[in-house]
């Protein structure tokens, strides 16, 4: 049986998946009644948030909490395991999912028009949570599919021509990635006779290094497509910006990070990161950063600039992992969390801009610092943070990586990351002076919305503010947060506990 079954927290473990799914089911049943859907979604997401907060408290105390579905023992049934990494990802994603949902309701665009928005969004939420929870490689595949299937529909909600075009590329690429994932799973089972991660970790040890390497790279590729690593990311900047604003925000905030999470999880748990892997990851990280940021400064549309930034930021996270030291991984995790908040906030701002100015193209927007000062302020904080300027969370993330990099003497990598930081700053300045300063040179594509005093409807502004506040808090309480990340990193560096819990019948 699962560990301390009587225990309340163990009861909580599967809820982050079950709650949104239940919400989705209700949403489908009541697809005629929008307000009913809204209530259901909000309730589900709020409960989900509460649960994950309860879990992170428990996990930080216990180390690991687990439950095996169906009351079986681990390799037999599917184990849901929460360690510190999963817990923090769970909390952050619940916060984002809830706030963006509020934003979507405030915007009342696709959310109001499409009866399927709410169920789909909740399925996405369930998929994300499941990916963080599961300790079973095949179940991870299923979780990804839930998440992705929902994303396929969300990204094309509205069915505009450009959405369909980029949607097709997105679906095709992801579908290929999924098929590759199945292939890898088949080969893994072929070689080891199990798909339970902890089990795999033990059985991989007796494998020939060549095969092991092949599996390590195979998994890296499969998740790298989702995470947006070079040279697998090209689909991402094409597809994300076309989705409805809130959807883009959630995608950029969460989907890529789920990929990163999967990479961190598998590489640390299943493989003991030989040196060559470190080098491979460093090179990948460097190229990802550089090409990502070059792409960003080449764009002239706010959303696309931000989309390319997703890529270059992923590079930093992989950089941290590649060092494979506690400091490095802690930095990486902190960076992931920072990036989720900053990125989501920026995309929410982007859709506020889009709504207010009728376009997100730099040439068609201007002077928002005068016409919508609040929006400008909401942009400034995450933008500075993204550019890695102190005292915001981005600086902490960057500095922790720089520090770890210097101690792990990969000065060249540090240098690259600093240059990339400069270019990020430049592209943020580009957005600022294009969107918030000056005048619009060309007429926007759509008619601008009538100007509210806040620069947007109250319930679009409030959640954006909330996320910005989160990101500031992340910097303000950087000390304890970073300490937590370090503990999480230590767990990852020594996965014995995770393994024992999962393999040892929980």
């Amino acid at each position: 049986m699962a560990p301390d079954i009587s225990n309340f927290t163990s009861f909580l473990v599967p809820l982050p998946v079950i709650l949104p799914l239940a919400g989705a089911a209700l949403g489908i049943l009541g697809s005629k009644f929008r307000s009913f859907q809204r209530v259901v979604s909000l309730v589900a997401l709020v409960l989900g948030l509460a649960v994950s907060i309860a879990l992170i408290v428990e996990v930080d105390d216990k180390g690991v909490v687990a439950q095996v579905a169906g009351g079986w023992t681990a390799p037999l049934g599917i184990a849901f395991v929460i360690d510190r990494l999963s817990a923090v990802m769970l909390v952050v994603s619940s916060v984002i999912l809830l706030l963006v949902m509020i934003f979507a309701i405030g915007q009342a665009d696709e959310e109001r028009k499409q009866s399927s928005f709410h169920p789909l969004y909740l399925v996405l939420a369930a998929g994300v949570s499941a990916s963080f929870l599961t300790a079973d490689l095949f179940n991870l595949f299923v979780a990804f599919e839930m998440m992705l299937a929902a994303s396929y529909v969300l990204i094309t909600l509205g069915g505009r021509a450009d959405q369909i075009r980029s949607g097709m590329s997105y679906v095709v690429i992801s579908l290929i990635a999924s098929t590759l994932f199945i292939t890898v799973l088949a080969l893994v089972y072929m070689a080891t006779g199990t798909v339970n991660m902890a089990d795999l970790a033990l059985r991989f040890e007796s494998l020939d290094p060549g095969v092991k390497a092949a599996f390590a790279i195979a998994l890296l590729v499969v998740f790298g497509i989702k995470a947006g690593l070079f040279p697998l990311y090209f689909w991402l900047p094409d597809s994300y910006p076309t989705a409805p604003g809130p959807v883009t925000a959630v995608f950029s905030g969460l989907l890529t990070k789920v990929g990163v999470y999967a990479i961190i999880r598998t590489q640390t748990l299943l493989f003991d990161m030989p040196d060559w892997m470190g080098t491979v990851l460093l090179v990948v990280a460097a190229t990802t950063m550089v090409f990502g940021v070059l792409g960003a400064i080449a764009q002239d549309d706010m959303k696309r600039i931000l989309a390319f930034h997703i890529i270059s930021q992923i590079g930093y996270m992989i950089f941290g992992l590649a060092l494979f030291t506690v400091a490095g991984i802690a930095g990486a995790i902190y960076y992931v969390v920072h990036n989720i908040f900053a990125k989501t906030a920026l995309f929410l701002v982007a859709s506020l801009v889009d709504r207010r100015a009728g376009s997100s193209r730099l040439s068609e927007v201007g002077g928002l610092v005068r016409s919508a000062p609040i929006v400008a302020l909401l942009f400034t904080v995450p933008a500075l943070s993204l550019a890695g300027l102190p005292p915001f969370s981005g600086f902490i993330g960057k500095f922790s990586l720089v520090d770890a990099g210097l101690t792990g003497d990969v000065a060249w990598m540090v240098a690259i990351s600093l240059v990339v930081g400069l270019l990020s700053m430049y592209s943020m300045a580009k957005i600022w002076s294009g969107v918030f300063w000056g005048e619009a040179e060309e007429k926007p594509a759509r008619e601008p919305e009538p100007g509210e005093r806040l620069g947007g409807p109250l319930w679009m502004i409030v959640p954006t503010v909330a996320i910005v506040v989160c990101s500031v808090a992340l910097a303000l309480w950087g000390g304890p947060v970073y300490e937590f990340m370090v503990r999480a990193a230590e767990d990852l560096m020594d996965p014995s506990m995770y393994r024992s819990i999962v393999a040892g019948g929980g």
């Binding site: 095949f138 595949f141 299923v142 599919e145 992705l148 299937a149 396929y152 529909v153 094309t156 069915g159 021509a161 450009d162 369909i164 075009r165 980029s166 949607g167 097709m168 590329s169 679906v171 095709v172 579908l175 290929i176 999924s178 098929t179 590759l180 199945i182 292939t183 799973l185 088949a186 080969l187 089972y189 072929m190 798909v195 094409d238 910006p241 080449a298 764009q299 002239d300 549309d301 696309r304 730099l362 040439s363 580009k430 294009g434």
Partner: protein, 153 residues
């Protein structure tokens, strides 16, 4: 894993990739389909040599074929089917818009190309009037414009 099965898998993957690298959505979908079949073939044969159907009939232990890969494959098949249905729907919609199922290049990416062939981006235009406010005898007389700040005071 027998050579024969491995070969068939190879064929499925090869033909699948061949089709996926084309521009007609129909071909791409079929390609993905083939790839999927290949993956499932691997999955099913990943349980080692085949045996009897894994349905316990009580009488002693027989040589069952591995049930787990079958279950996994079943899940995989159904999921792939669901997503393929979605993709088909997309193709349908795309036809409604473009009267065709060609997957076009990304418009924005082509814009980048165009713009890089132009004289240059806005900032390069800025370049001219940013050149140091001509500090010379032969330079412009009012360099830095803030005339009128004082007006009315």
């Amino acid at each position: 894993m027998s050579i024969a099965v491995a070969l068939v898998t190879a064929v499925l993957f090869g033909t699948g990739s061949w089709l996926m690298m084309q521009r007609r959505l129909t071909r791409i979908i079929i390609g993905i389909g083939l790839l999927g079949h290949g993956a499932n073939l691997l999955l099913v044969s990943s349980g080692g040599p085949s045996g009897d159907a894994p349905i316990i009939s009580g009488d002693g232990v027989e040589n069952y074929s591995d049930p787990l890969p079958q279950a996994l494959a079943l899940t995989a098949i159904v999921i792939t089917f669901g997503v393929t249905a979605l993709l088909l729907a997309l193709g349908y919609r795309s036809w409604q818009i473009t009267k065709d199922d060609v997957v076009e290049d990304d418009v924005e990416d082509r814009r980048v190309l165009r713009r890089s062939n132009q004289d240059g981006p806005e900032s390069e235009v800025d370049l001219e009037d940013a050149v140091p406010v001509g500090p010379d005898e032969d330079g412009v007389n009012r360099v830095v414009g803030e005339r009128g700040e004082g007006d009315g005071s």
